[in-house]
Amino acid sequence: MPNILVFAESRAGTVRKVAFELLAAAKKLSAGGEVHAVLAGAPGIGSQATSLTDHGADVIYVTEHAALGEYNTEALSALVAERAKSGYRAVLFAGSSQGKDLGPRVAAKLGVPVAADALSVSFDGDATTVTHYVYAGKIIATLELAATPAVVALRPGAVAPEESKGAGRVENAPPVGDPAASRVVVTESIRGDARKLDLADAPVIVSGGRGLKAAENFKLVEELAQAFGNAAVGATRAVTDEGWRPHSDQIGQTGRQVSPDLYVAVGISGAIQHLAGMRTSRTIVAINKDKDAPIFKLADYGIVGDVFEIVPALTAAIREAKAKG
C-alpha cells in the first residue's frame, strides 16, 4: 500500500482549498496506504493541521519558522524534497503558482521528471499515468511517468475536496537548511482585496472579454460576481494585454487554468487559448452579441445579445434568486 506525500499549500497563514483537493486525490491513490502532508509557514501555522486531518491527512509534518511567512521557494523545495526521500510512491502539488514553482524544483532535487498541470493521475503497476492538455488545449495527452516518486502537479479543481477523517498525527519537523538564508527572497507581498475570492478557490467565476469594450465596464462583471456572492472575476488575454485587468486575472492556456462549478463568459468570443483554461468548468454560460462566436459551441447555456443590457438584468435576477435562498 503506497504512501502519498502532499504539499499543503497555505497563504497568509491559511491552508488553501487546493490542499484539500490534493488530500482527496492522495486518498484515492493510496488505496489504504497513508496520506502525509507537509505544512510549513510562520509560527502558528501548525494550528491549521486540524483542517488537514478533517480532509484525510494521516500524518502532518509541521515546520514553523519566521522566514516561512512569505512564500520561500528555496526553503520549501528543500524541505519537501528531503521529506520525499523517505519512501513515497508519489508527491503531489497543486497546479497553482506555488505548486507549479515547487513541483519541478523538488523533482529535479530528487532526480526525477515532473508531470505539470495534470488533469488526472493514477497508478499502473510501477508506472504513473497522468492526463494533460497540450497544444493550447486542443489535444489531450495521456502520459506515463516511469520514476519513483511520481512528482505531479494537479490542476486546481480537477479533484473535489472530501471530508474524511485521517489519523491526523502531527509531527514537528525542523527546516532543512536555514530558511532565512534563501537567495530568492520575497521582499513585498502585494495583496488584492482580501475579501475577494481567488480564481482557484471560487465555485463561480464571472469572466469578461473584449466585448466589454473598456476597463470601466468591468464593473458590470464585478456586480454580477457580487450577486453570486461566491464568485471571482476573471478575464481574457486580450483584456489583460490591454491593461484593463491585471495579468493575474487572466484565464487561459498561458494564464490561470480553472474548473469552477459555474463559469460565466461575458463578451468573450472564445479564442482557443482562453477555452484551454476553462473548458473543464462544470457548467458554462456565455453571453455574447455574435451568435457564431466559438464560445457558444462550448457553453451549456448561451444568450445572444448586448452584454450591457443582459448582464445588469442577470445581476438583478441572481440577486433576487439568492435572496429567496
Partner: protein, 250 residues
C-alpha cells in the same frame, strides 16, 4: 551582462490539430512553426536589457532537430549575437531530460543571467527552466512580469493568486518570463542580413534519460454545449431557472 535565452520551436496554435497515425504525436503536415510566444518575450527582454546597459551579449540556445536553426536565426535577426543548436532527432516531453542537456551547455558558459519563457506553447508545463536552475545550483524566479537589475541583484515581480510578489535574487541567476514584459520586435531587413553571418554552434544534445513519455494523444471529448436559450435580456429568467433546476449551481 552576458545573457543566455533558451528558446523552443513550436507549431503556431491557431489551427485545428490532428493526431498523427502513431497516436502519440500531432500530425505536423501543413503546420507552421515559430518561436514559442513566451520565449519571444524573453529574447526581447534580453535584447532590451543589453541595449540599455550598452554592454553584454545575448546567446540563444535551442534543443531539437535541424529545423530549430530557423528559429535560432530569427532570434539572431532580432539582435542576438550567437546561437547554439543542441541537436536531437525529436524533443522529448520529459522536461528533466531536456534540463540536463541545457545545464550541460550552460554550466561553463559564464552567463550572468539565463532566461526562459514561462512555459512552452505546445506542452505548457513550465518545468524546464526551474529544473535547469536546480541542476546549475543557481537561483531562479519563475514567471516574472517585471524584471530589473541593481547592484548585482535581480528584482522581479510575479503575479500570484490574489496579488503579486516582489522578489529579489542574486546574479548569476535564472528567470522565466511571463507576458507583459516586452513585445518582441520584428526582425529588420538589416537584422536578417546580419544574422546570416552570426555564429551558430551545432552540437549533439546531452539529453538525460527519458522517463516521462506520451502514451497517446487524442482530441478532447466534445462538450454537450451549443445550446442557445434565447436573445437579449428576455432570456434571463429562463437562464436563472436552468441554473437553479437543471445545473443546480444556484
Amino acid at each position: 551582462m552576458k545573457i543566455a535565452v533558451c528558446i523552443k520551436r513550436v507549431p503556431e496554435m491557431d489551427v485545428k490539430f490532428k493526431v498523427a497515425s502513431s497516436g502519440t504525436a500531432v500530425d505536423e503536415t501543413g503546420l507552421k512553426f515559430d518561436m514559442s510566444d513566451f520565449d519571444g518575450y524573453a529574447v526581447e527582454f534580453a535584447l532590451q536589457t543589453t541595449e540599455k546597459l550598452g554592454t553584454g551579449e545575448v546567446t540563444v540556445i535551442s534543443l531539437g532537430p535541424d529545423a530549430v536553426q530557423e528559429t535560432l536565426r530569427k532570434a539572431l535577426s532580432m539582435g542576438a549575437g550567437r546561437a547554439v543548436h543542441l541537436k536531437v532527432d525529436s524533443v522529448p516531453i520529459d522536461g528533466f531530460a531536456i534540463a540536463q542537456a541545457l545545464a550541460t551547455e550552460l554550466k561553463d558558459g559564464g552567463y550572468d543571467l539565463v532566461l526562459f519563457g514561462k512555459q512552452a506553447a505546445d506542452t505548457a508545463s513550465g518545468a524546464v527552466g526551474l529544473m535547469t536552475a536546480e541542476l546549475l545550483g543557481i537561483p531562479m524566479v519563475q514567471a516574472c512580469t517585471k524584471l530589473s537589475f541593481e547592484g548585482g541583484k535581480g528584482i522581479a515581480r510575479r503575479e500570484v493568486e490574489g496579488g503579486a510578489e516582489m522578489v529579489t535574487f542574486p546574479l548569476p541567476g535564472t528567470a522565466s518570463i511571463d507576458e507583459g514584459i516586452a513585445r518582441p520586435r520584428y526582425p529588420s531587413l538589416k537584422g536578417i542580413m546580419a544574422a546570416k553571418k552570426k555564429p551558430m554552434d551545432v552540437k549533439p544534445a546531452q539529453l538525460g534519460p527519458v522517463r516521462y513519455s506520451v502514451v497517446k494523444m487524442e482530441l478532447p471529448p466534445e462538450r454537450q454545449g451549443g445550446r442557445i436559450i434565447g436573445e437579449g435580456a428576455g432570456a434571463v429568467p429562463e437562464l436563472v431557472r436552468l441554473l437553479r433546476d437543471e445545473a443546480k449551481v444556484l
